[in-house]
Amino acid sequence: MSAPYDLLVIGGGIMGCAAALRAAEGGMRVVVIEQAAIGSGASGVNTGTLSLQIKRLKLMPYALKGYAWWKAAGEAVGFHCVGGLTLAFNAQEADILSERMLQKRDAGAPIEIISANAVADREPALSRRVVAASWCPADGYANASRTGMYFRHLLAEAGVEAREHTRVDDVVRESDGFVVTTGADTLRARRVLLAAGGWAPALAAKLGYTPPIRVRVNTVSVTERVPRVVDRLIGHVTGLLTLKQKDNGTVVIGGGWQGRGTPDEGRGEVVPERLLINLRLAQFVLPALGTARIVRAWTGFEANVPDFYPLAGVIPGVDNAYILGCVRGGYTIGPYMGRLVGDLILGNEPELPLFDPKRYQTNAGSPVTQEA
């Protein structure tokens, strides 16, 4: 058997790939195992929204770094900076909007509150029932479906081996590392990183770890190509609608409305009653969209933990095993979180603090009892 890898990453999404790239940059020999294609899970099926306005306050420094990464990737990932409007339609929504957005501005996002008239000037097709809005000129989007091609290229350039369409059957700890069996092979590695999103719990269980991961099933839909109706990224103050018209004329509609299904079943399904509310909200916000035909709606599995922050660090009680993922808005901050964890794995001090999984191990009844 060949020499063990320095790092074996399970999960070829944004975070796993970014961590792999950082580790390789630091001189490690790295392999990424992906059950489907690189970037084909949540990383590839989300709406591609890069909005600082919808990022959580505490994650803003990470979001700014992640945003800069996508911007630098540019055309290869379909990056577009169009500016974003977040809309409020009554007094209560307007209060929530200004309170939250001003805090986000203080955290470093270039956000300002603008009037309903200013909204109508910028986007005349929007509903006239807007009462207030926030505006962030940096907001934009990338084309999530290009994630895979882009990372595949980066991995190849960095000399990281990528094994796609390869499912991990088992992960076993040994004295000086891990033995990972796939359908095709048995691989050895000194370190493993679980970056498998909604599929991580089943893998973590093999290491005796139960991460507090829950899975959201986010719904996205898209119209056929239609004449230009809106230029900017449009959001609703509740976060229950994101909308953008891409260069090709299609309008992508998201907002985290829940479908059904589990990663283990391997398929998520659209729940029509919830999709309809999402579409109603879209039509209310942009009435001209009514005649556009929806050509596709789909779901993606977004893993999260109870506090909706990342899970990024050493797996409690398992030396040299790491976990990364699980965050709202992972598309934007993923590349940067991956880099931070890559640094941790290299033994470097990460530039910003990580989100240690140990925060969930404080009780005496900790789910993890395995010795280090």
Binding site: A37, G39, H153, P272, A282
Partner: protein, 465 residues
Amino acid sequence: MTHDLVILGAGPAGASAAITAAELGLRAVVLDEQQNAGGQVWRAPSGVETPGDDGARLRDRLRVSGVTRAFGRRVWLAERGFTVSALGPDGAEDYRAPALIVAAGAHERHVPVPGWTLPGMIGLAAATILLKSQHILPGRRVVVAGVGPLLLLVAAEILRGGGEVAAVIDANRRRDWFATPLALLSRPDLAGRGAGWVTRLLRAGVPILSRHALRRIEGTDGVTRVFAGPIDADGTQIAGPERAFDCDALCMGYGLQSSTEVTRLLGARHAYQARGWAPVTTAEQLTSVRGLYACGDGAGVQGVAAAPLRGQIAAIAAARDMGRLSASEAENRLVVLQARLGRAARFGEAMARLATPPPNLVPSIPAETIVCRCERLSRADLDAAITQGAVTVNDLKSATRCGMGPCGGRMCEYAAAGLIGARTGRTPEQIGQSTARPPLRPVALQALAGSFDYDSLPMIEPAPL
């Protein structure tokens, strides 16, 4: 609306399933996008019915069967359990039943050729509809190209309608047509019709080119000329004179493939056979999903003679499986139907084999040819993505948007999969089908949204700050 059984598609298979279900006392509803039963093959004429016609008889029987007929319905979602969501003349509707029979039919297989996006090019199957139910000619001087028995039917119908056929270009040999005599003998009536078409064409002096394929289509605002060249049995272009035919329309098609959107969406297992994907079913048309039956050409192309039998079998199995028909009674009926189906299916499958494009046609597509019409992607665009690692249809879809336009991949997926195979050597099973996504057909956002009031939209708590 709750029923015992929902049937999707009112073609020969679906309508027959509905009639049988009603005979067995099931409360059934049959949905179709058209305004009447008959499907594509027995489509209701725009004018007066011809009495005694297969389609007219089917429509009469369905009308008196007591089945609820929900026509003019655009089905956009099907969920296990089963719930079928449709848009009808009065807006959104849901149909619920413990059993679902899918009789979705088939659609045309295309092999892209330079210039095939020009106006004046229509599918062979579309041409049969124009000719048979609308009595409209595709053009004044038409080239008919592709593969299979439909070539002759369309060419003969054009002649009958007073049009001119510039040429019939067949990728297979006419000799291949008689290479399956047993199957043909099983339906001498239909085989006889085929021979009649050939006679009519030869008498009119129509050139019939065997083992030829279109090389390119020319025109500026529409098709004006096509060029055909010789190919070998595998479809590889070989040396030989190119022939040009002036024309103002082109009917082109390479056989039929099962429409599997619904069965894929419901997660049924599918298999690749005879150059096409179809849901795997038992002899009683049951798919891998409990309560879900697939019949007719949507469950593997076996043709119009087999379709009504498969529909009846599915309805009997569904009635039995939900405890509405005794096992012995079901068995008695199924034995008779299965025996008749065997013969019809053998003939239909032989016909489908004749309508199978030779394997090297797709690998011969020139680089600059548009493959995905909706997204205007050329073979070179797709090849570039394949070189960069797209090895499944889904990979190619995310890398290039191939198949993501309004057609949902119905026009391009066969060719796209073939291009992956040609470059990577992967099998069709490894290349896979694209993941089916709702809506099953494009639907206007406002039709789904309906009327509503902003203040009553059930907003969930906003995400934490």
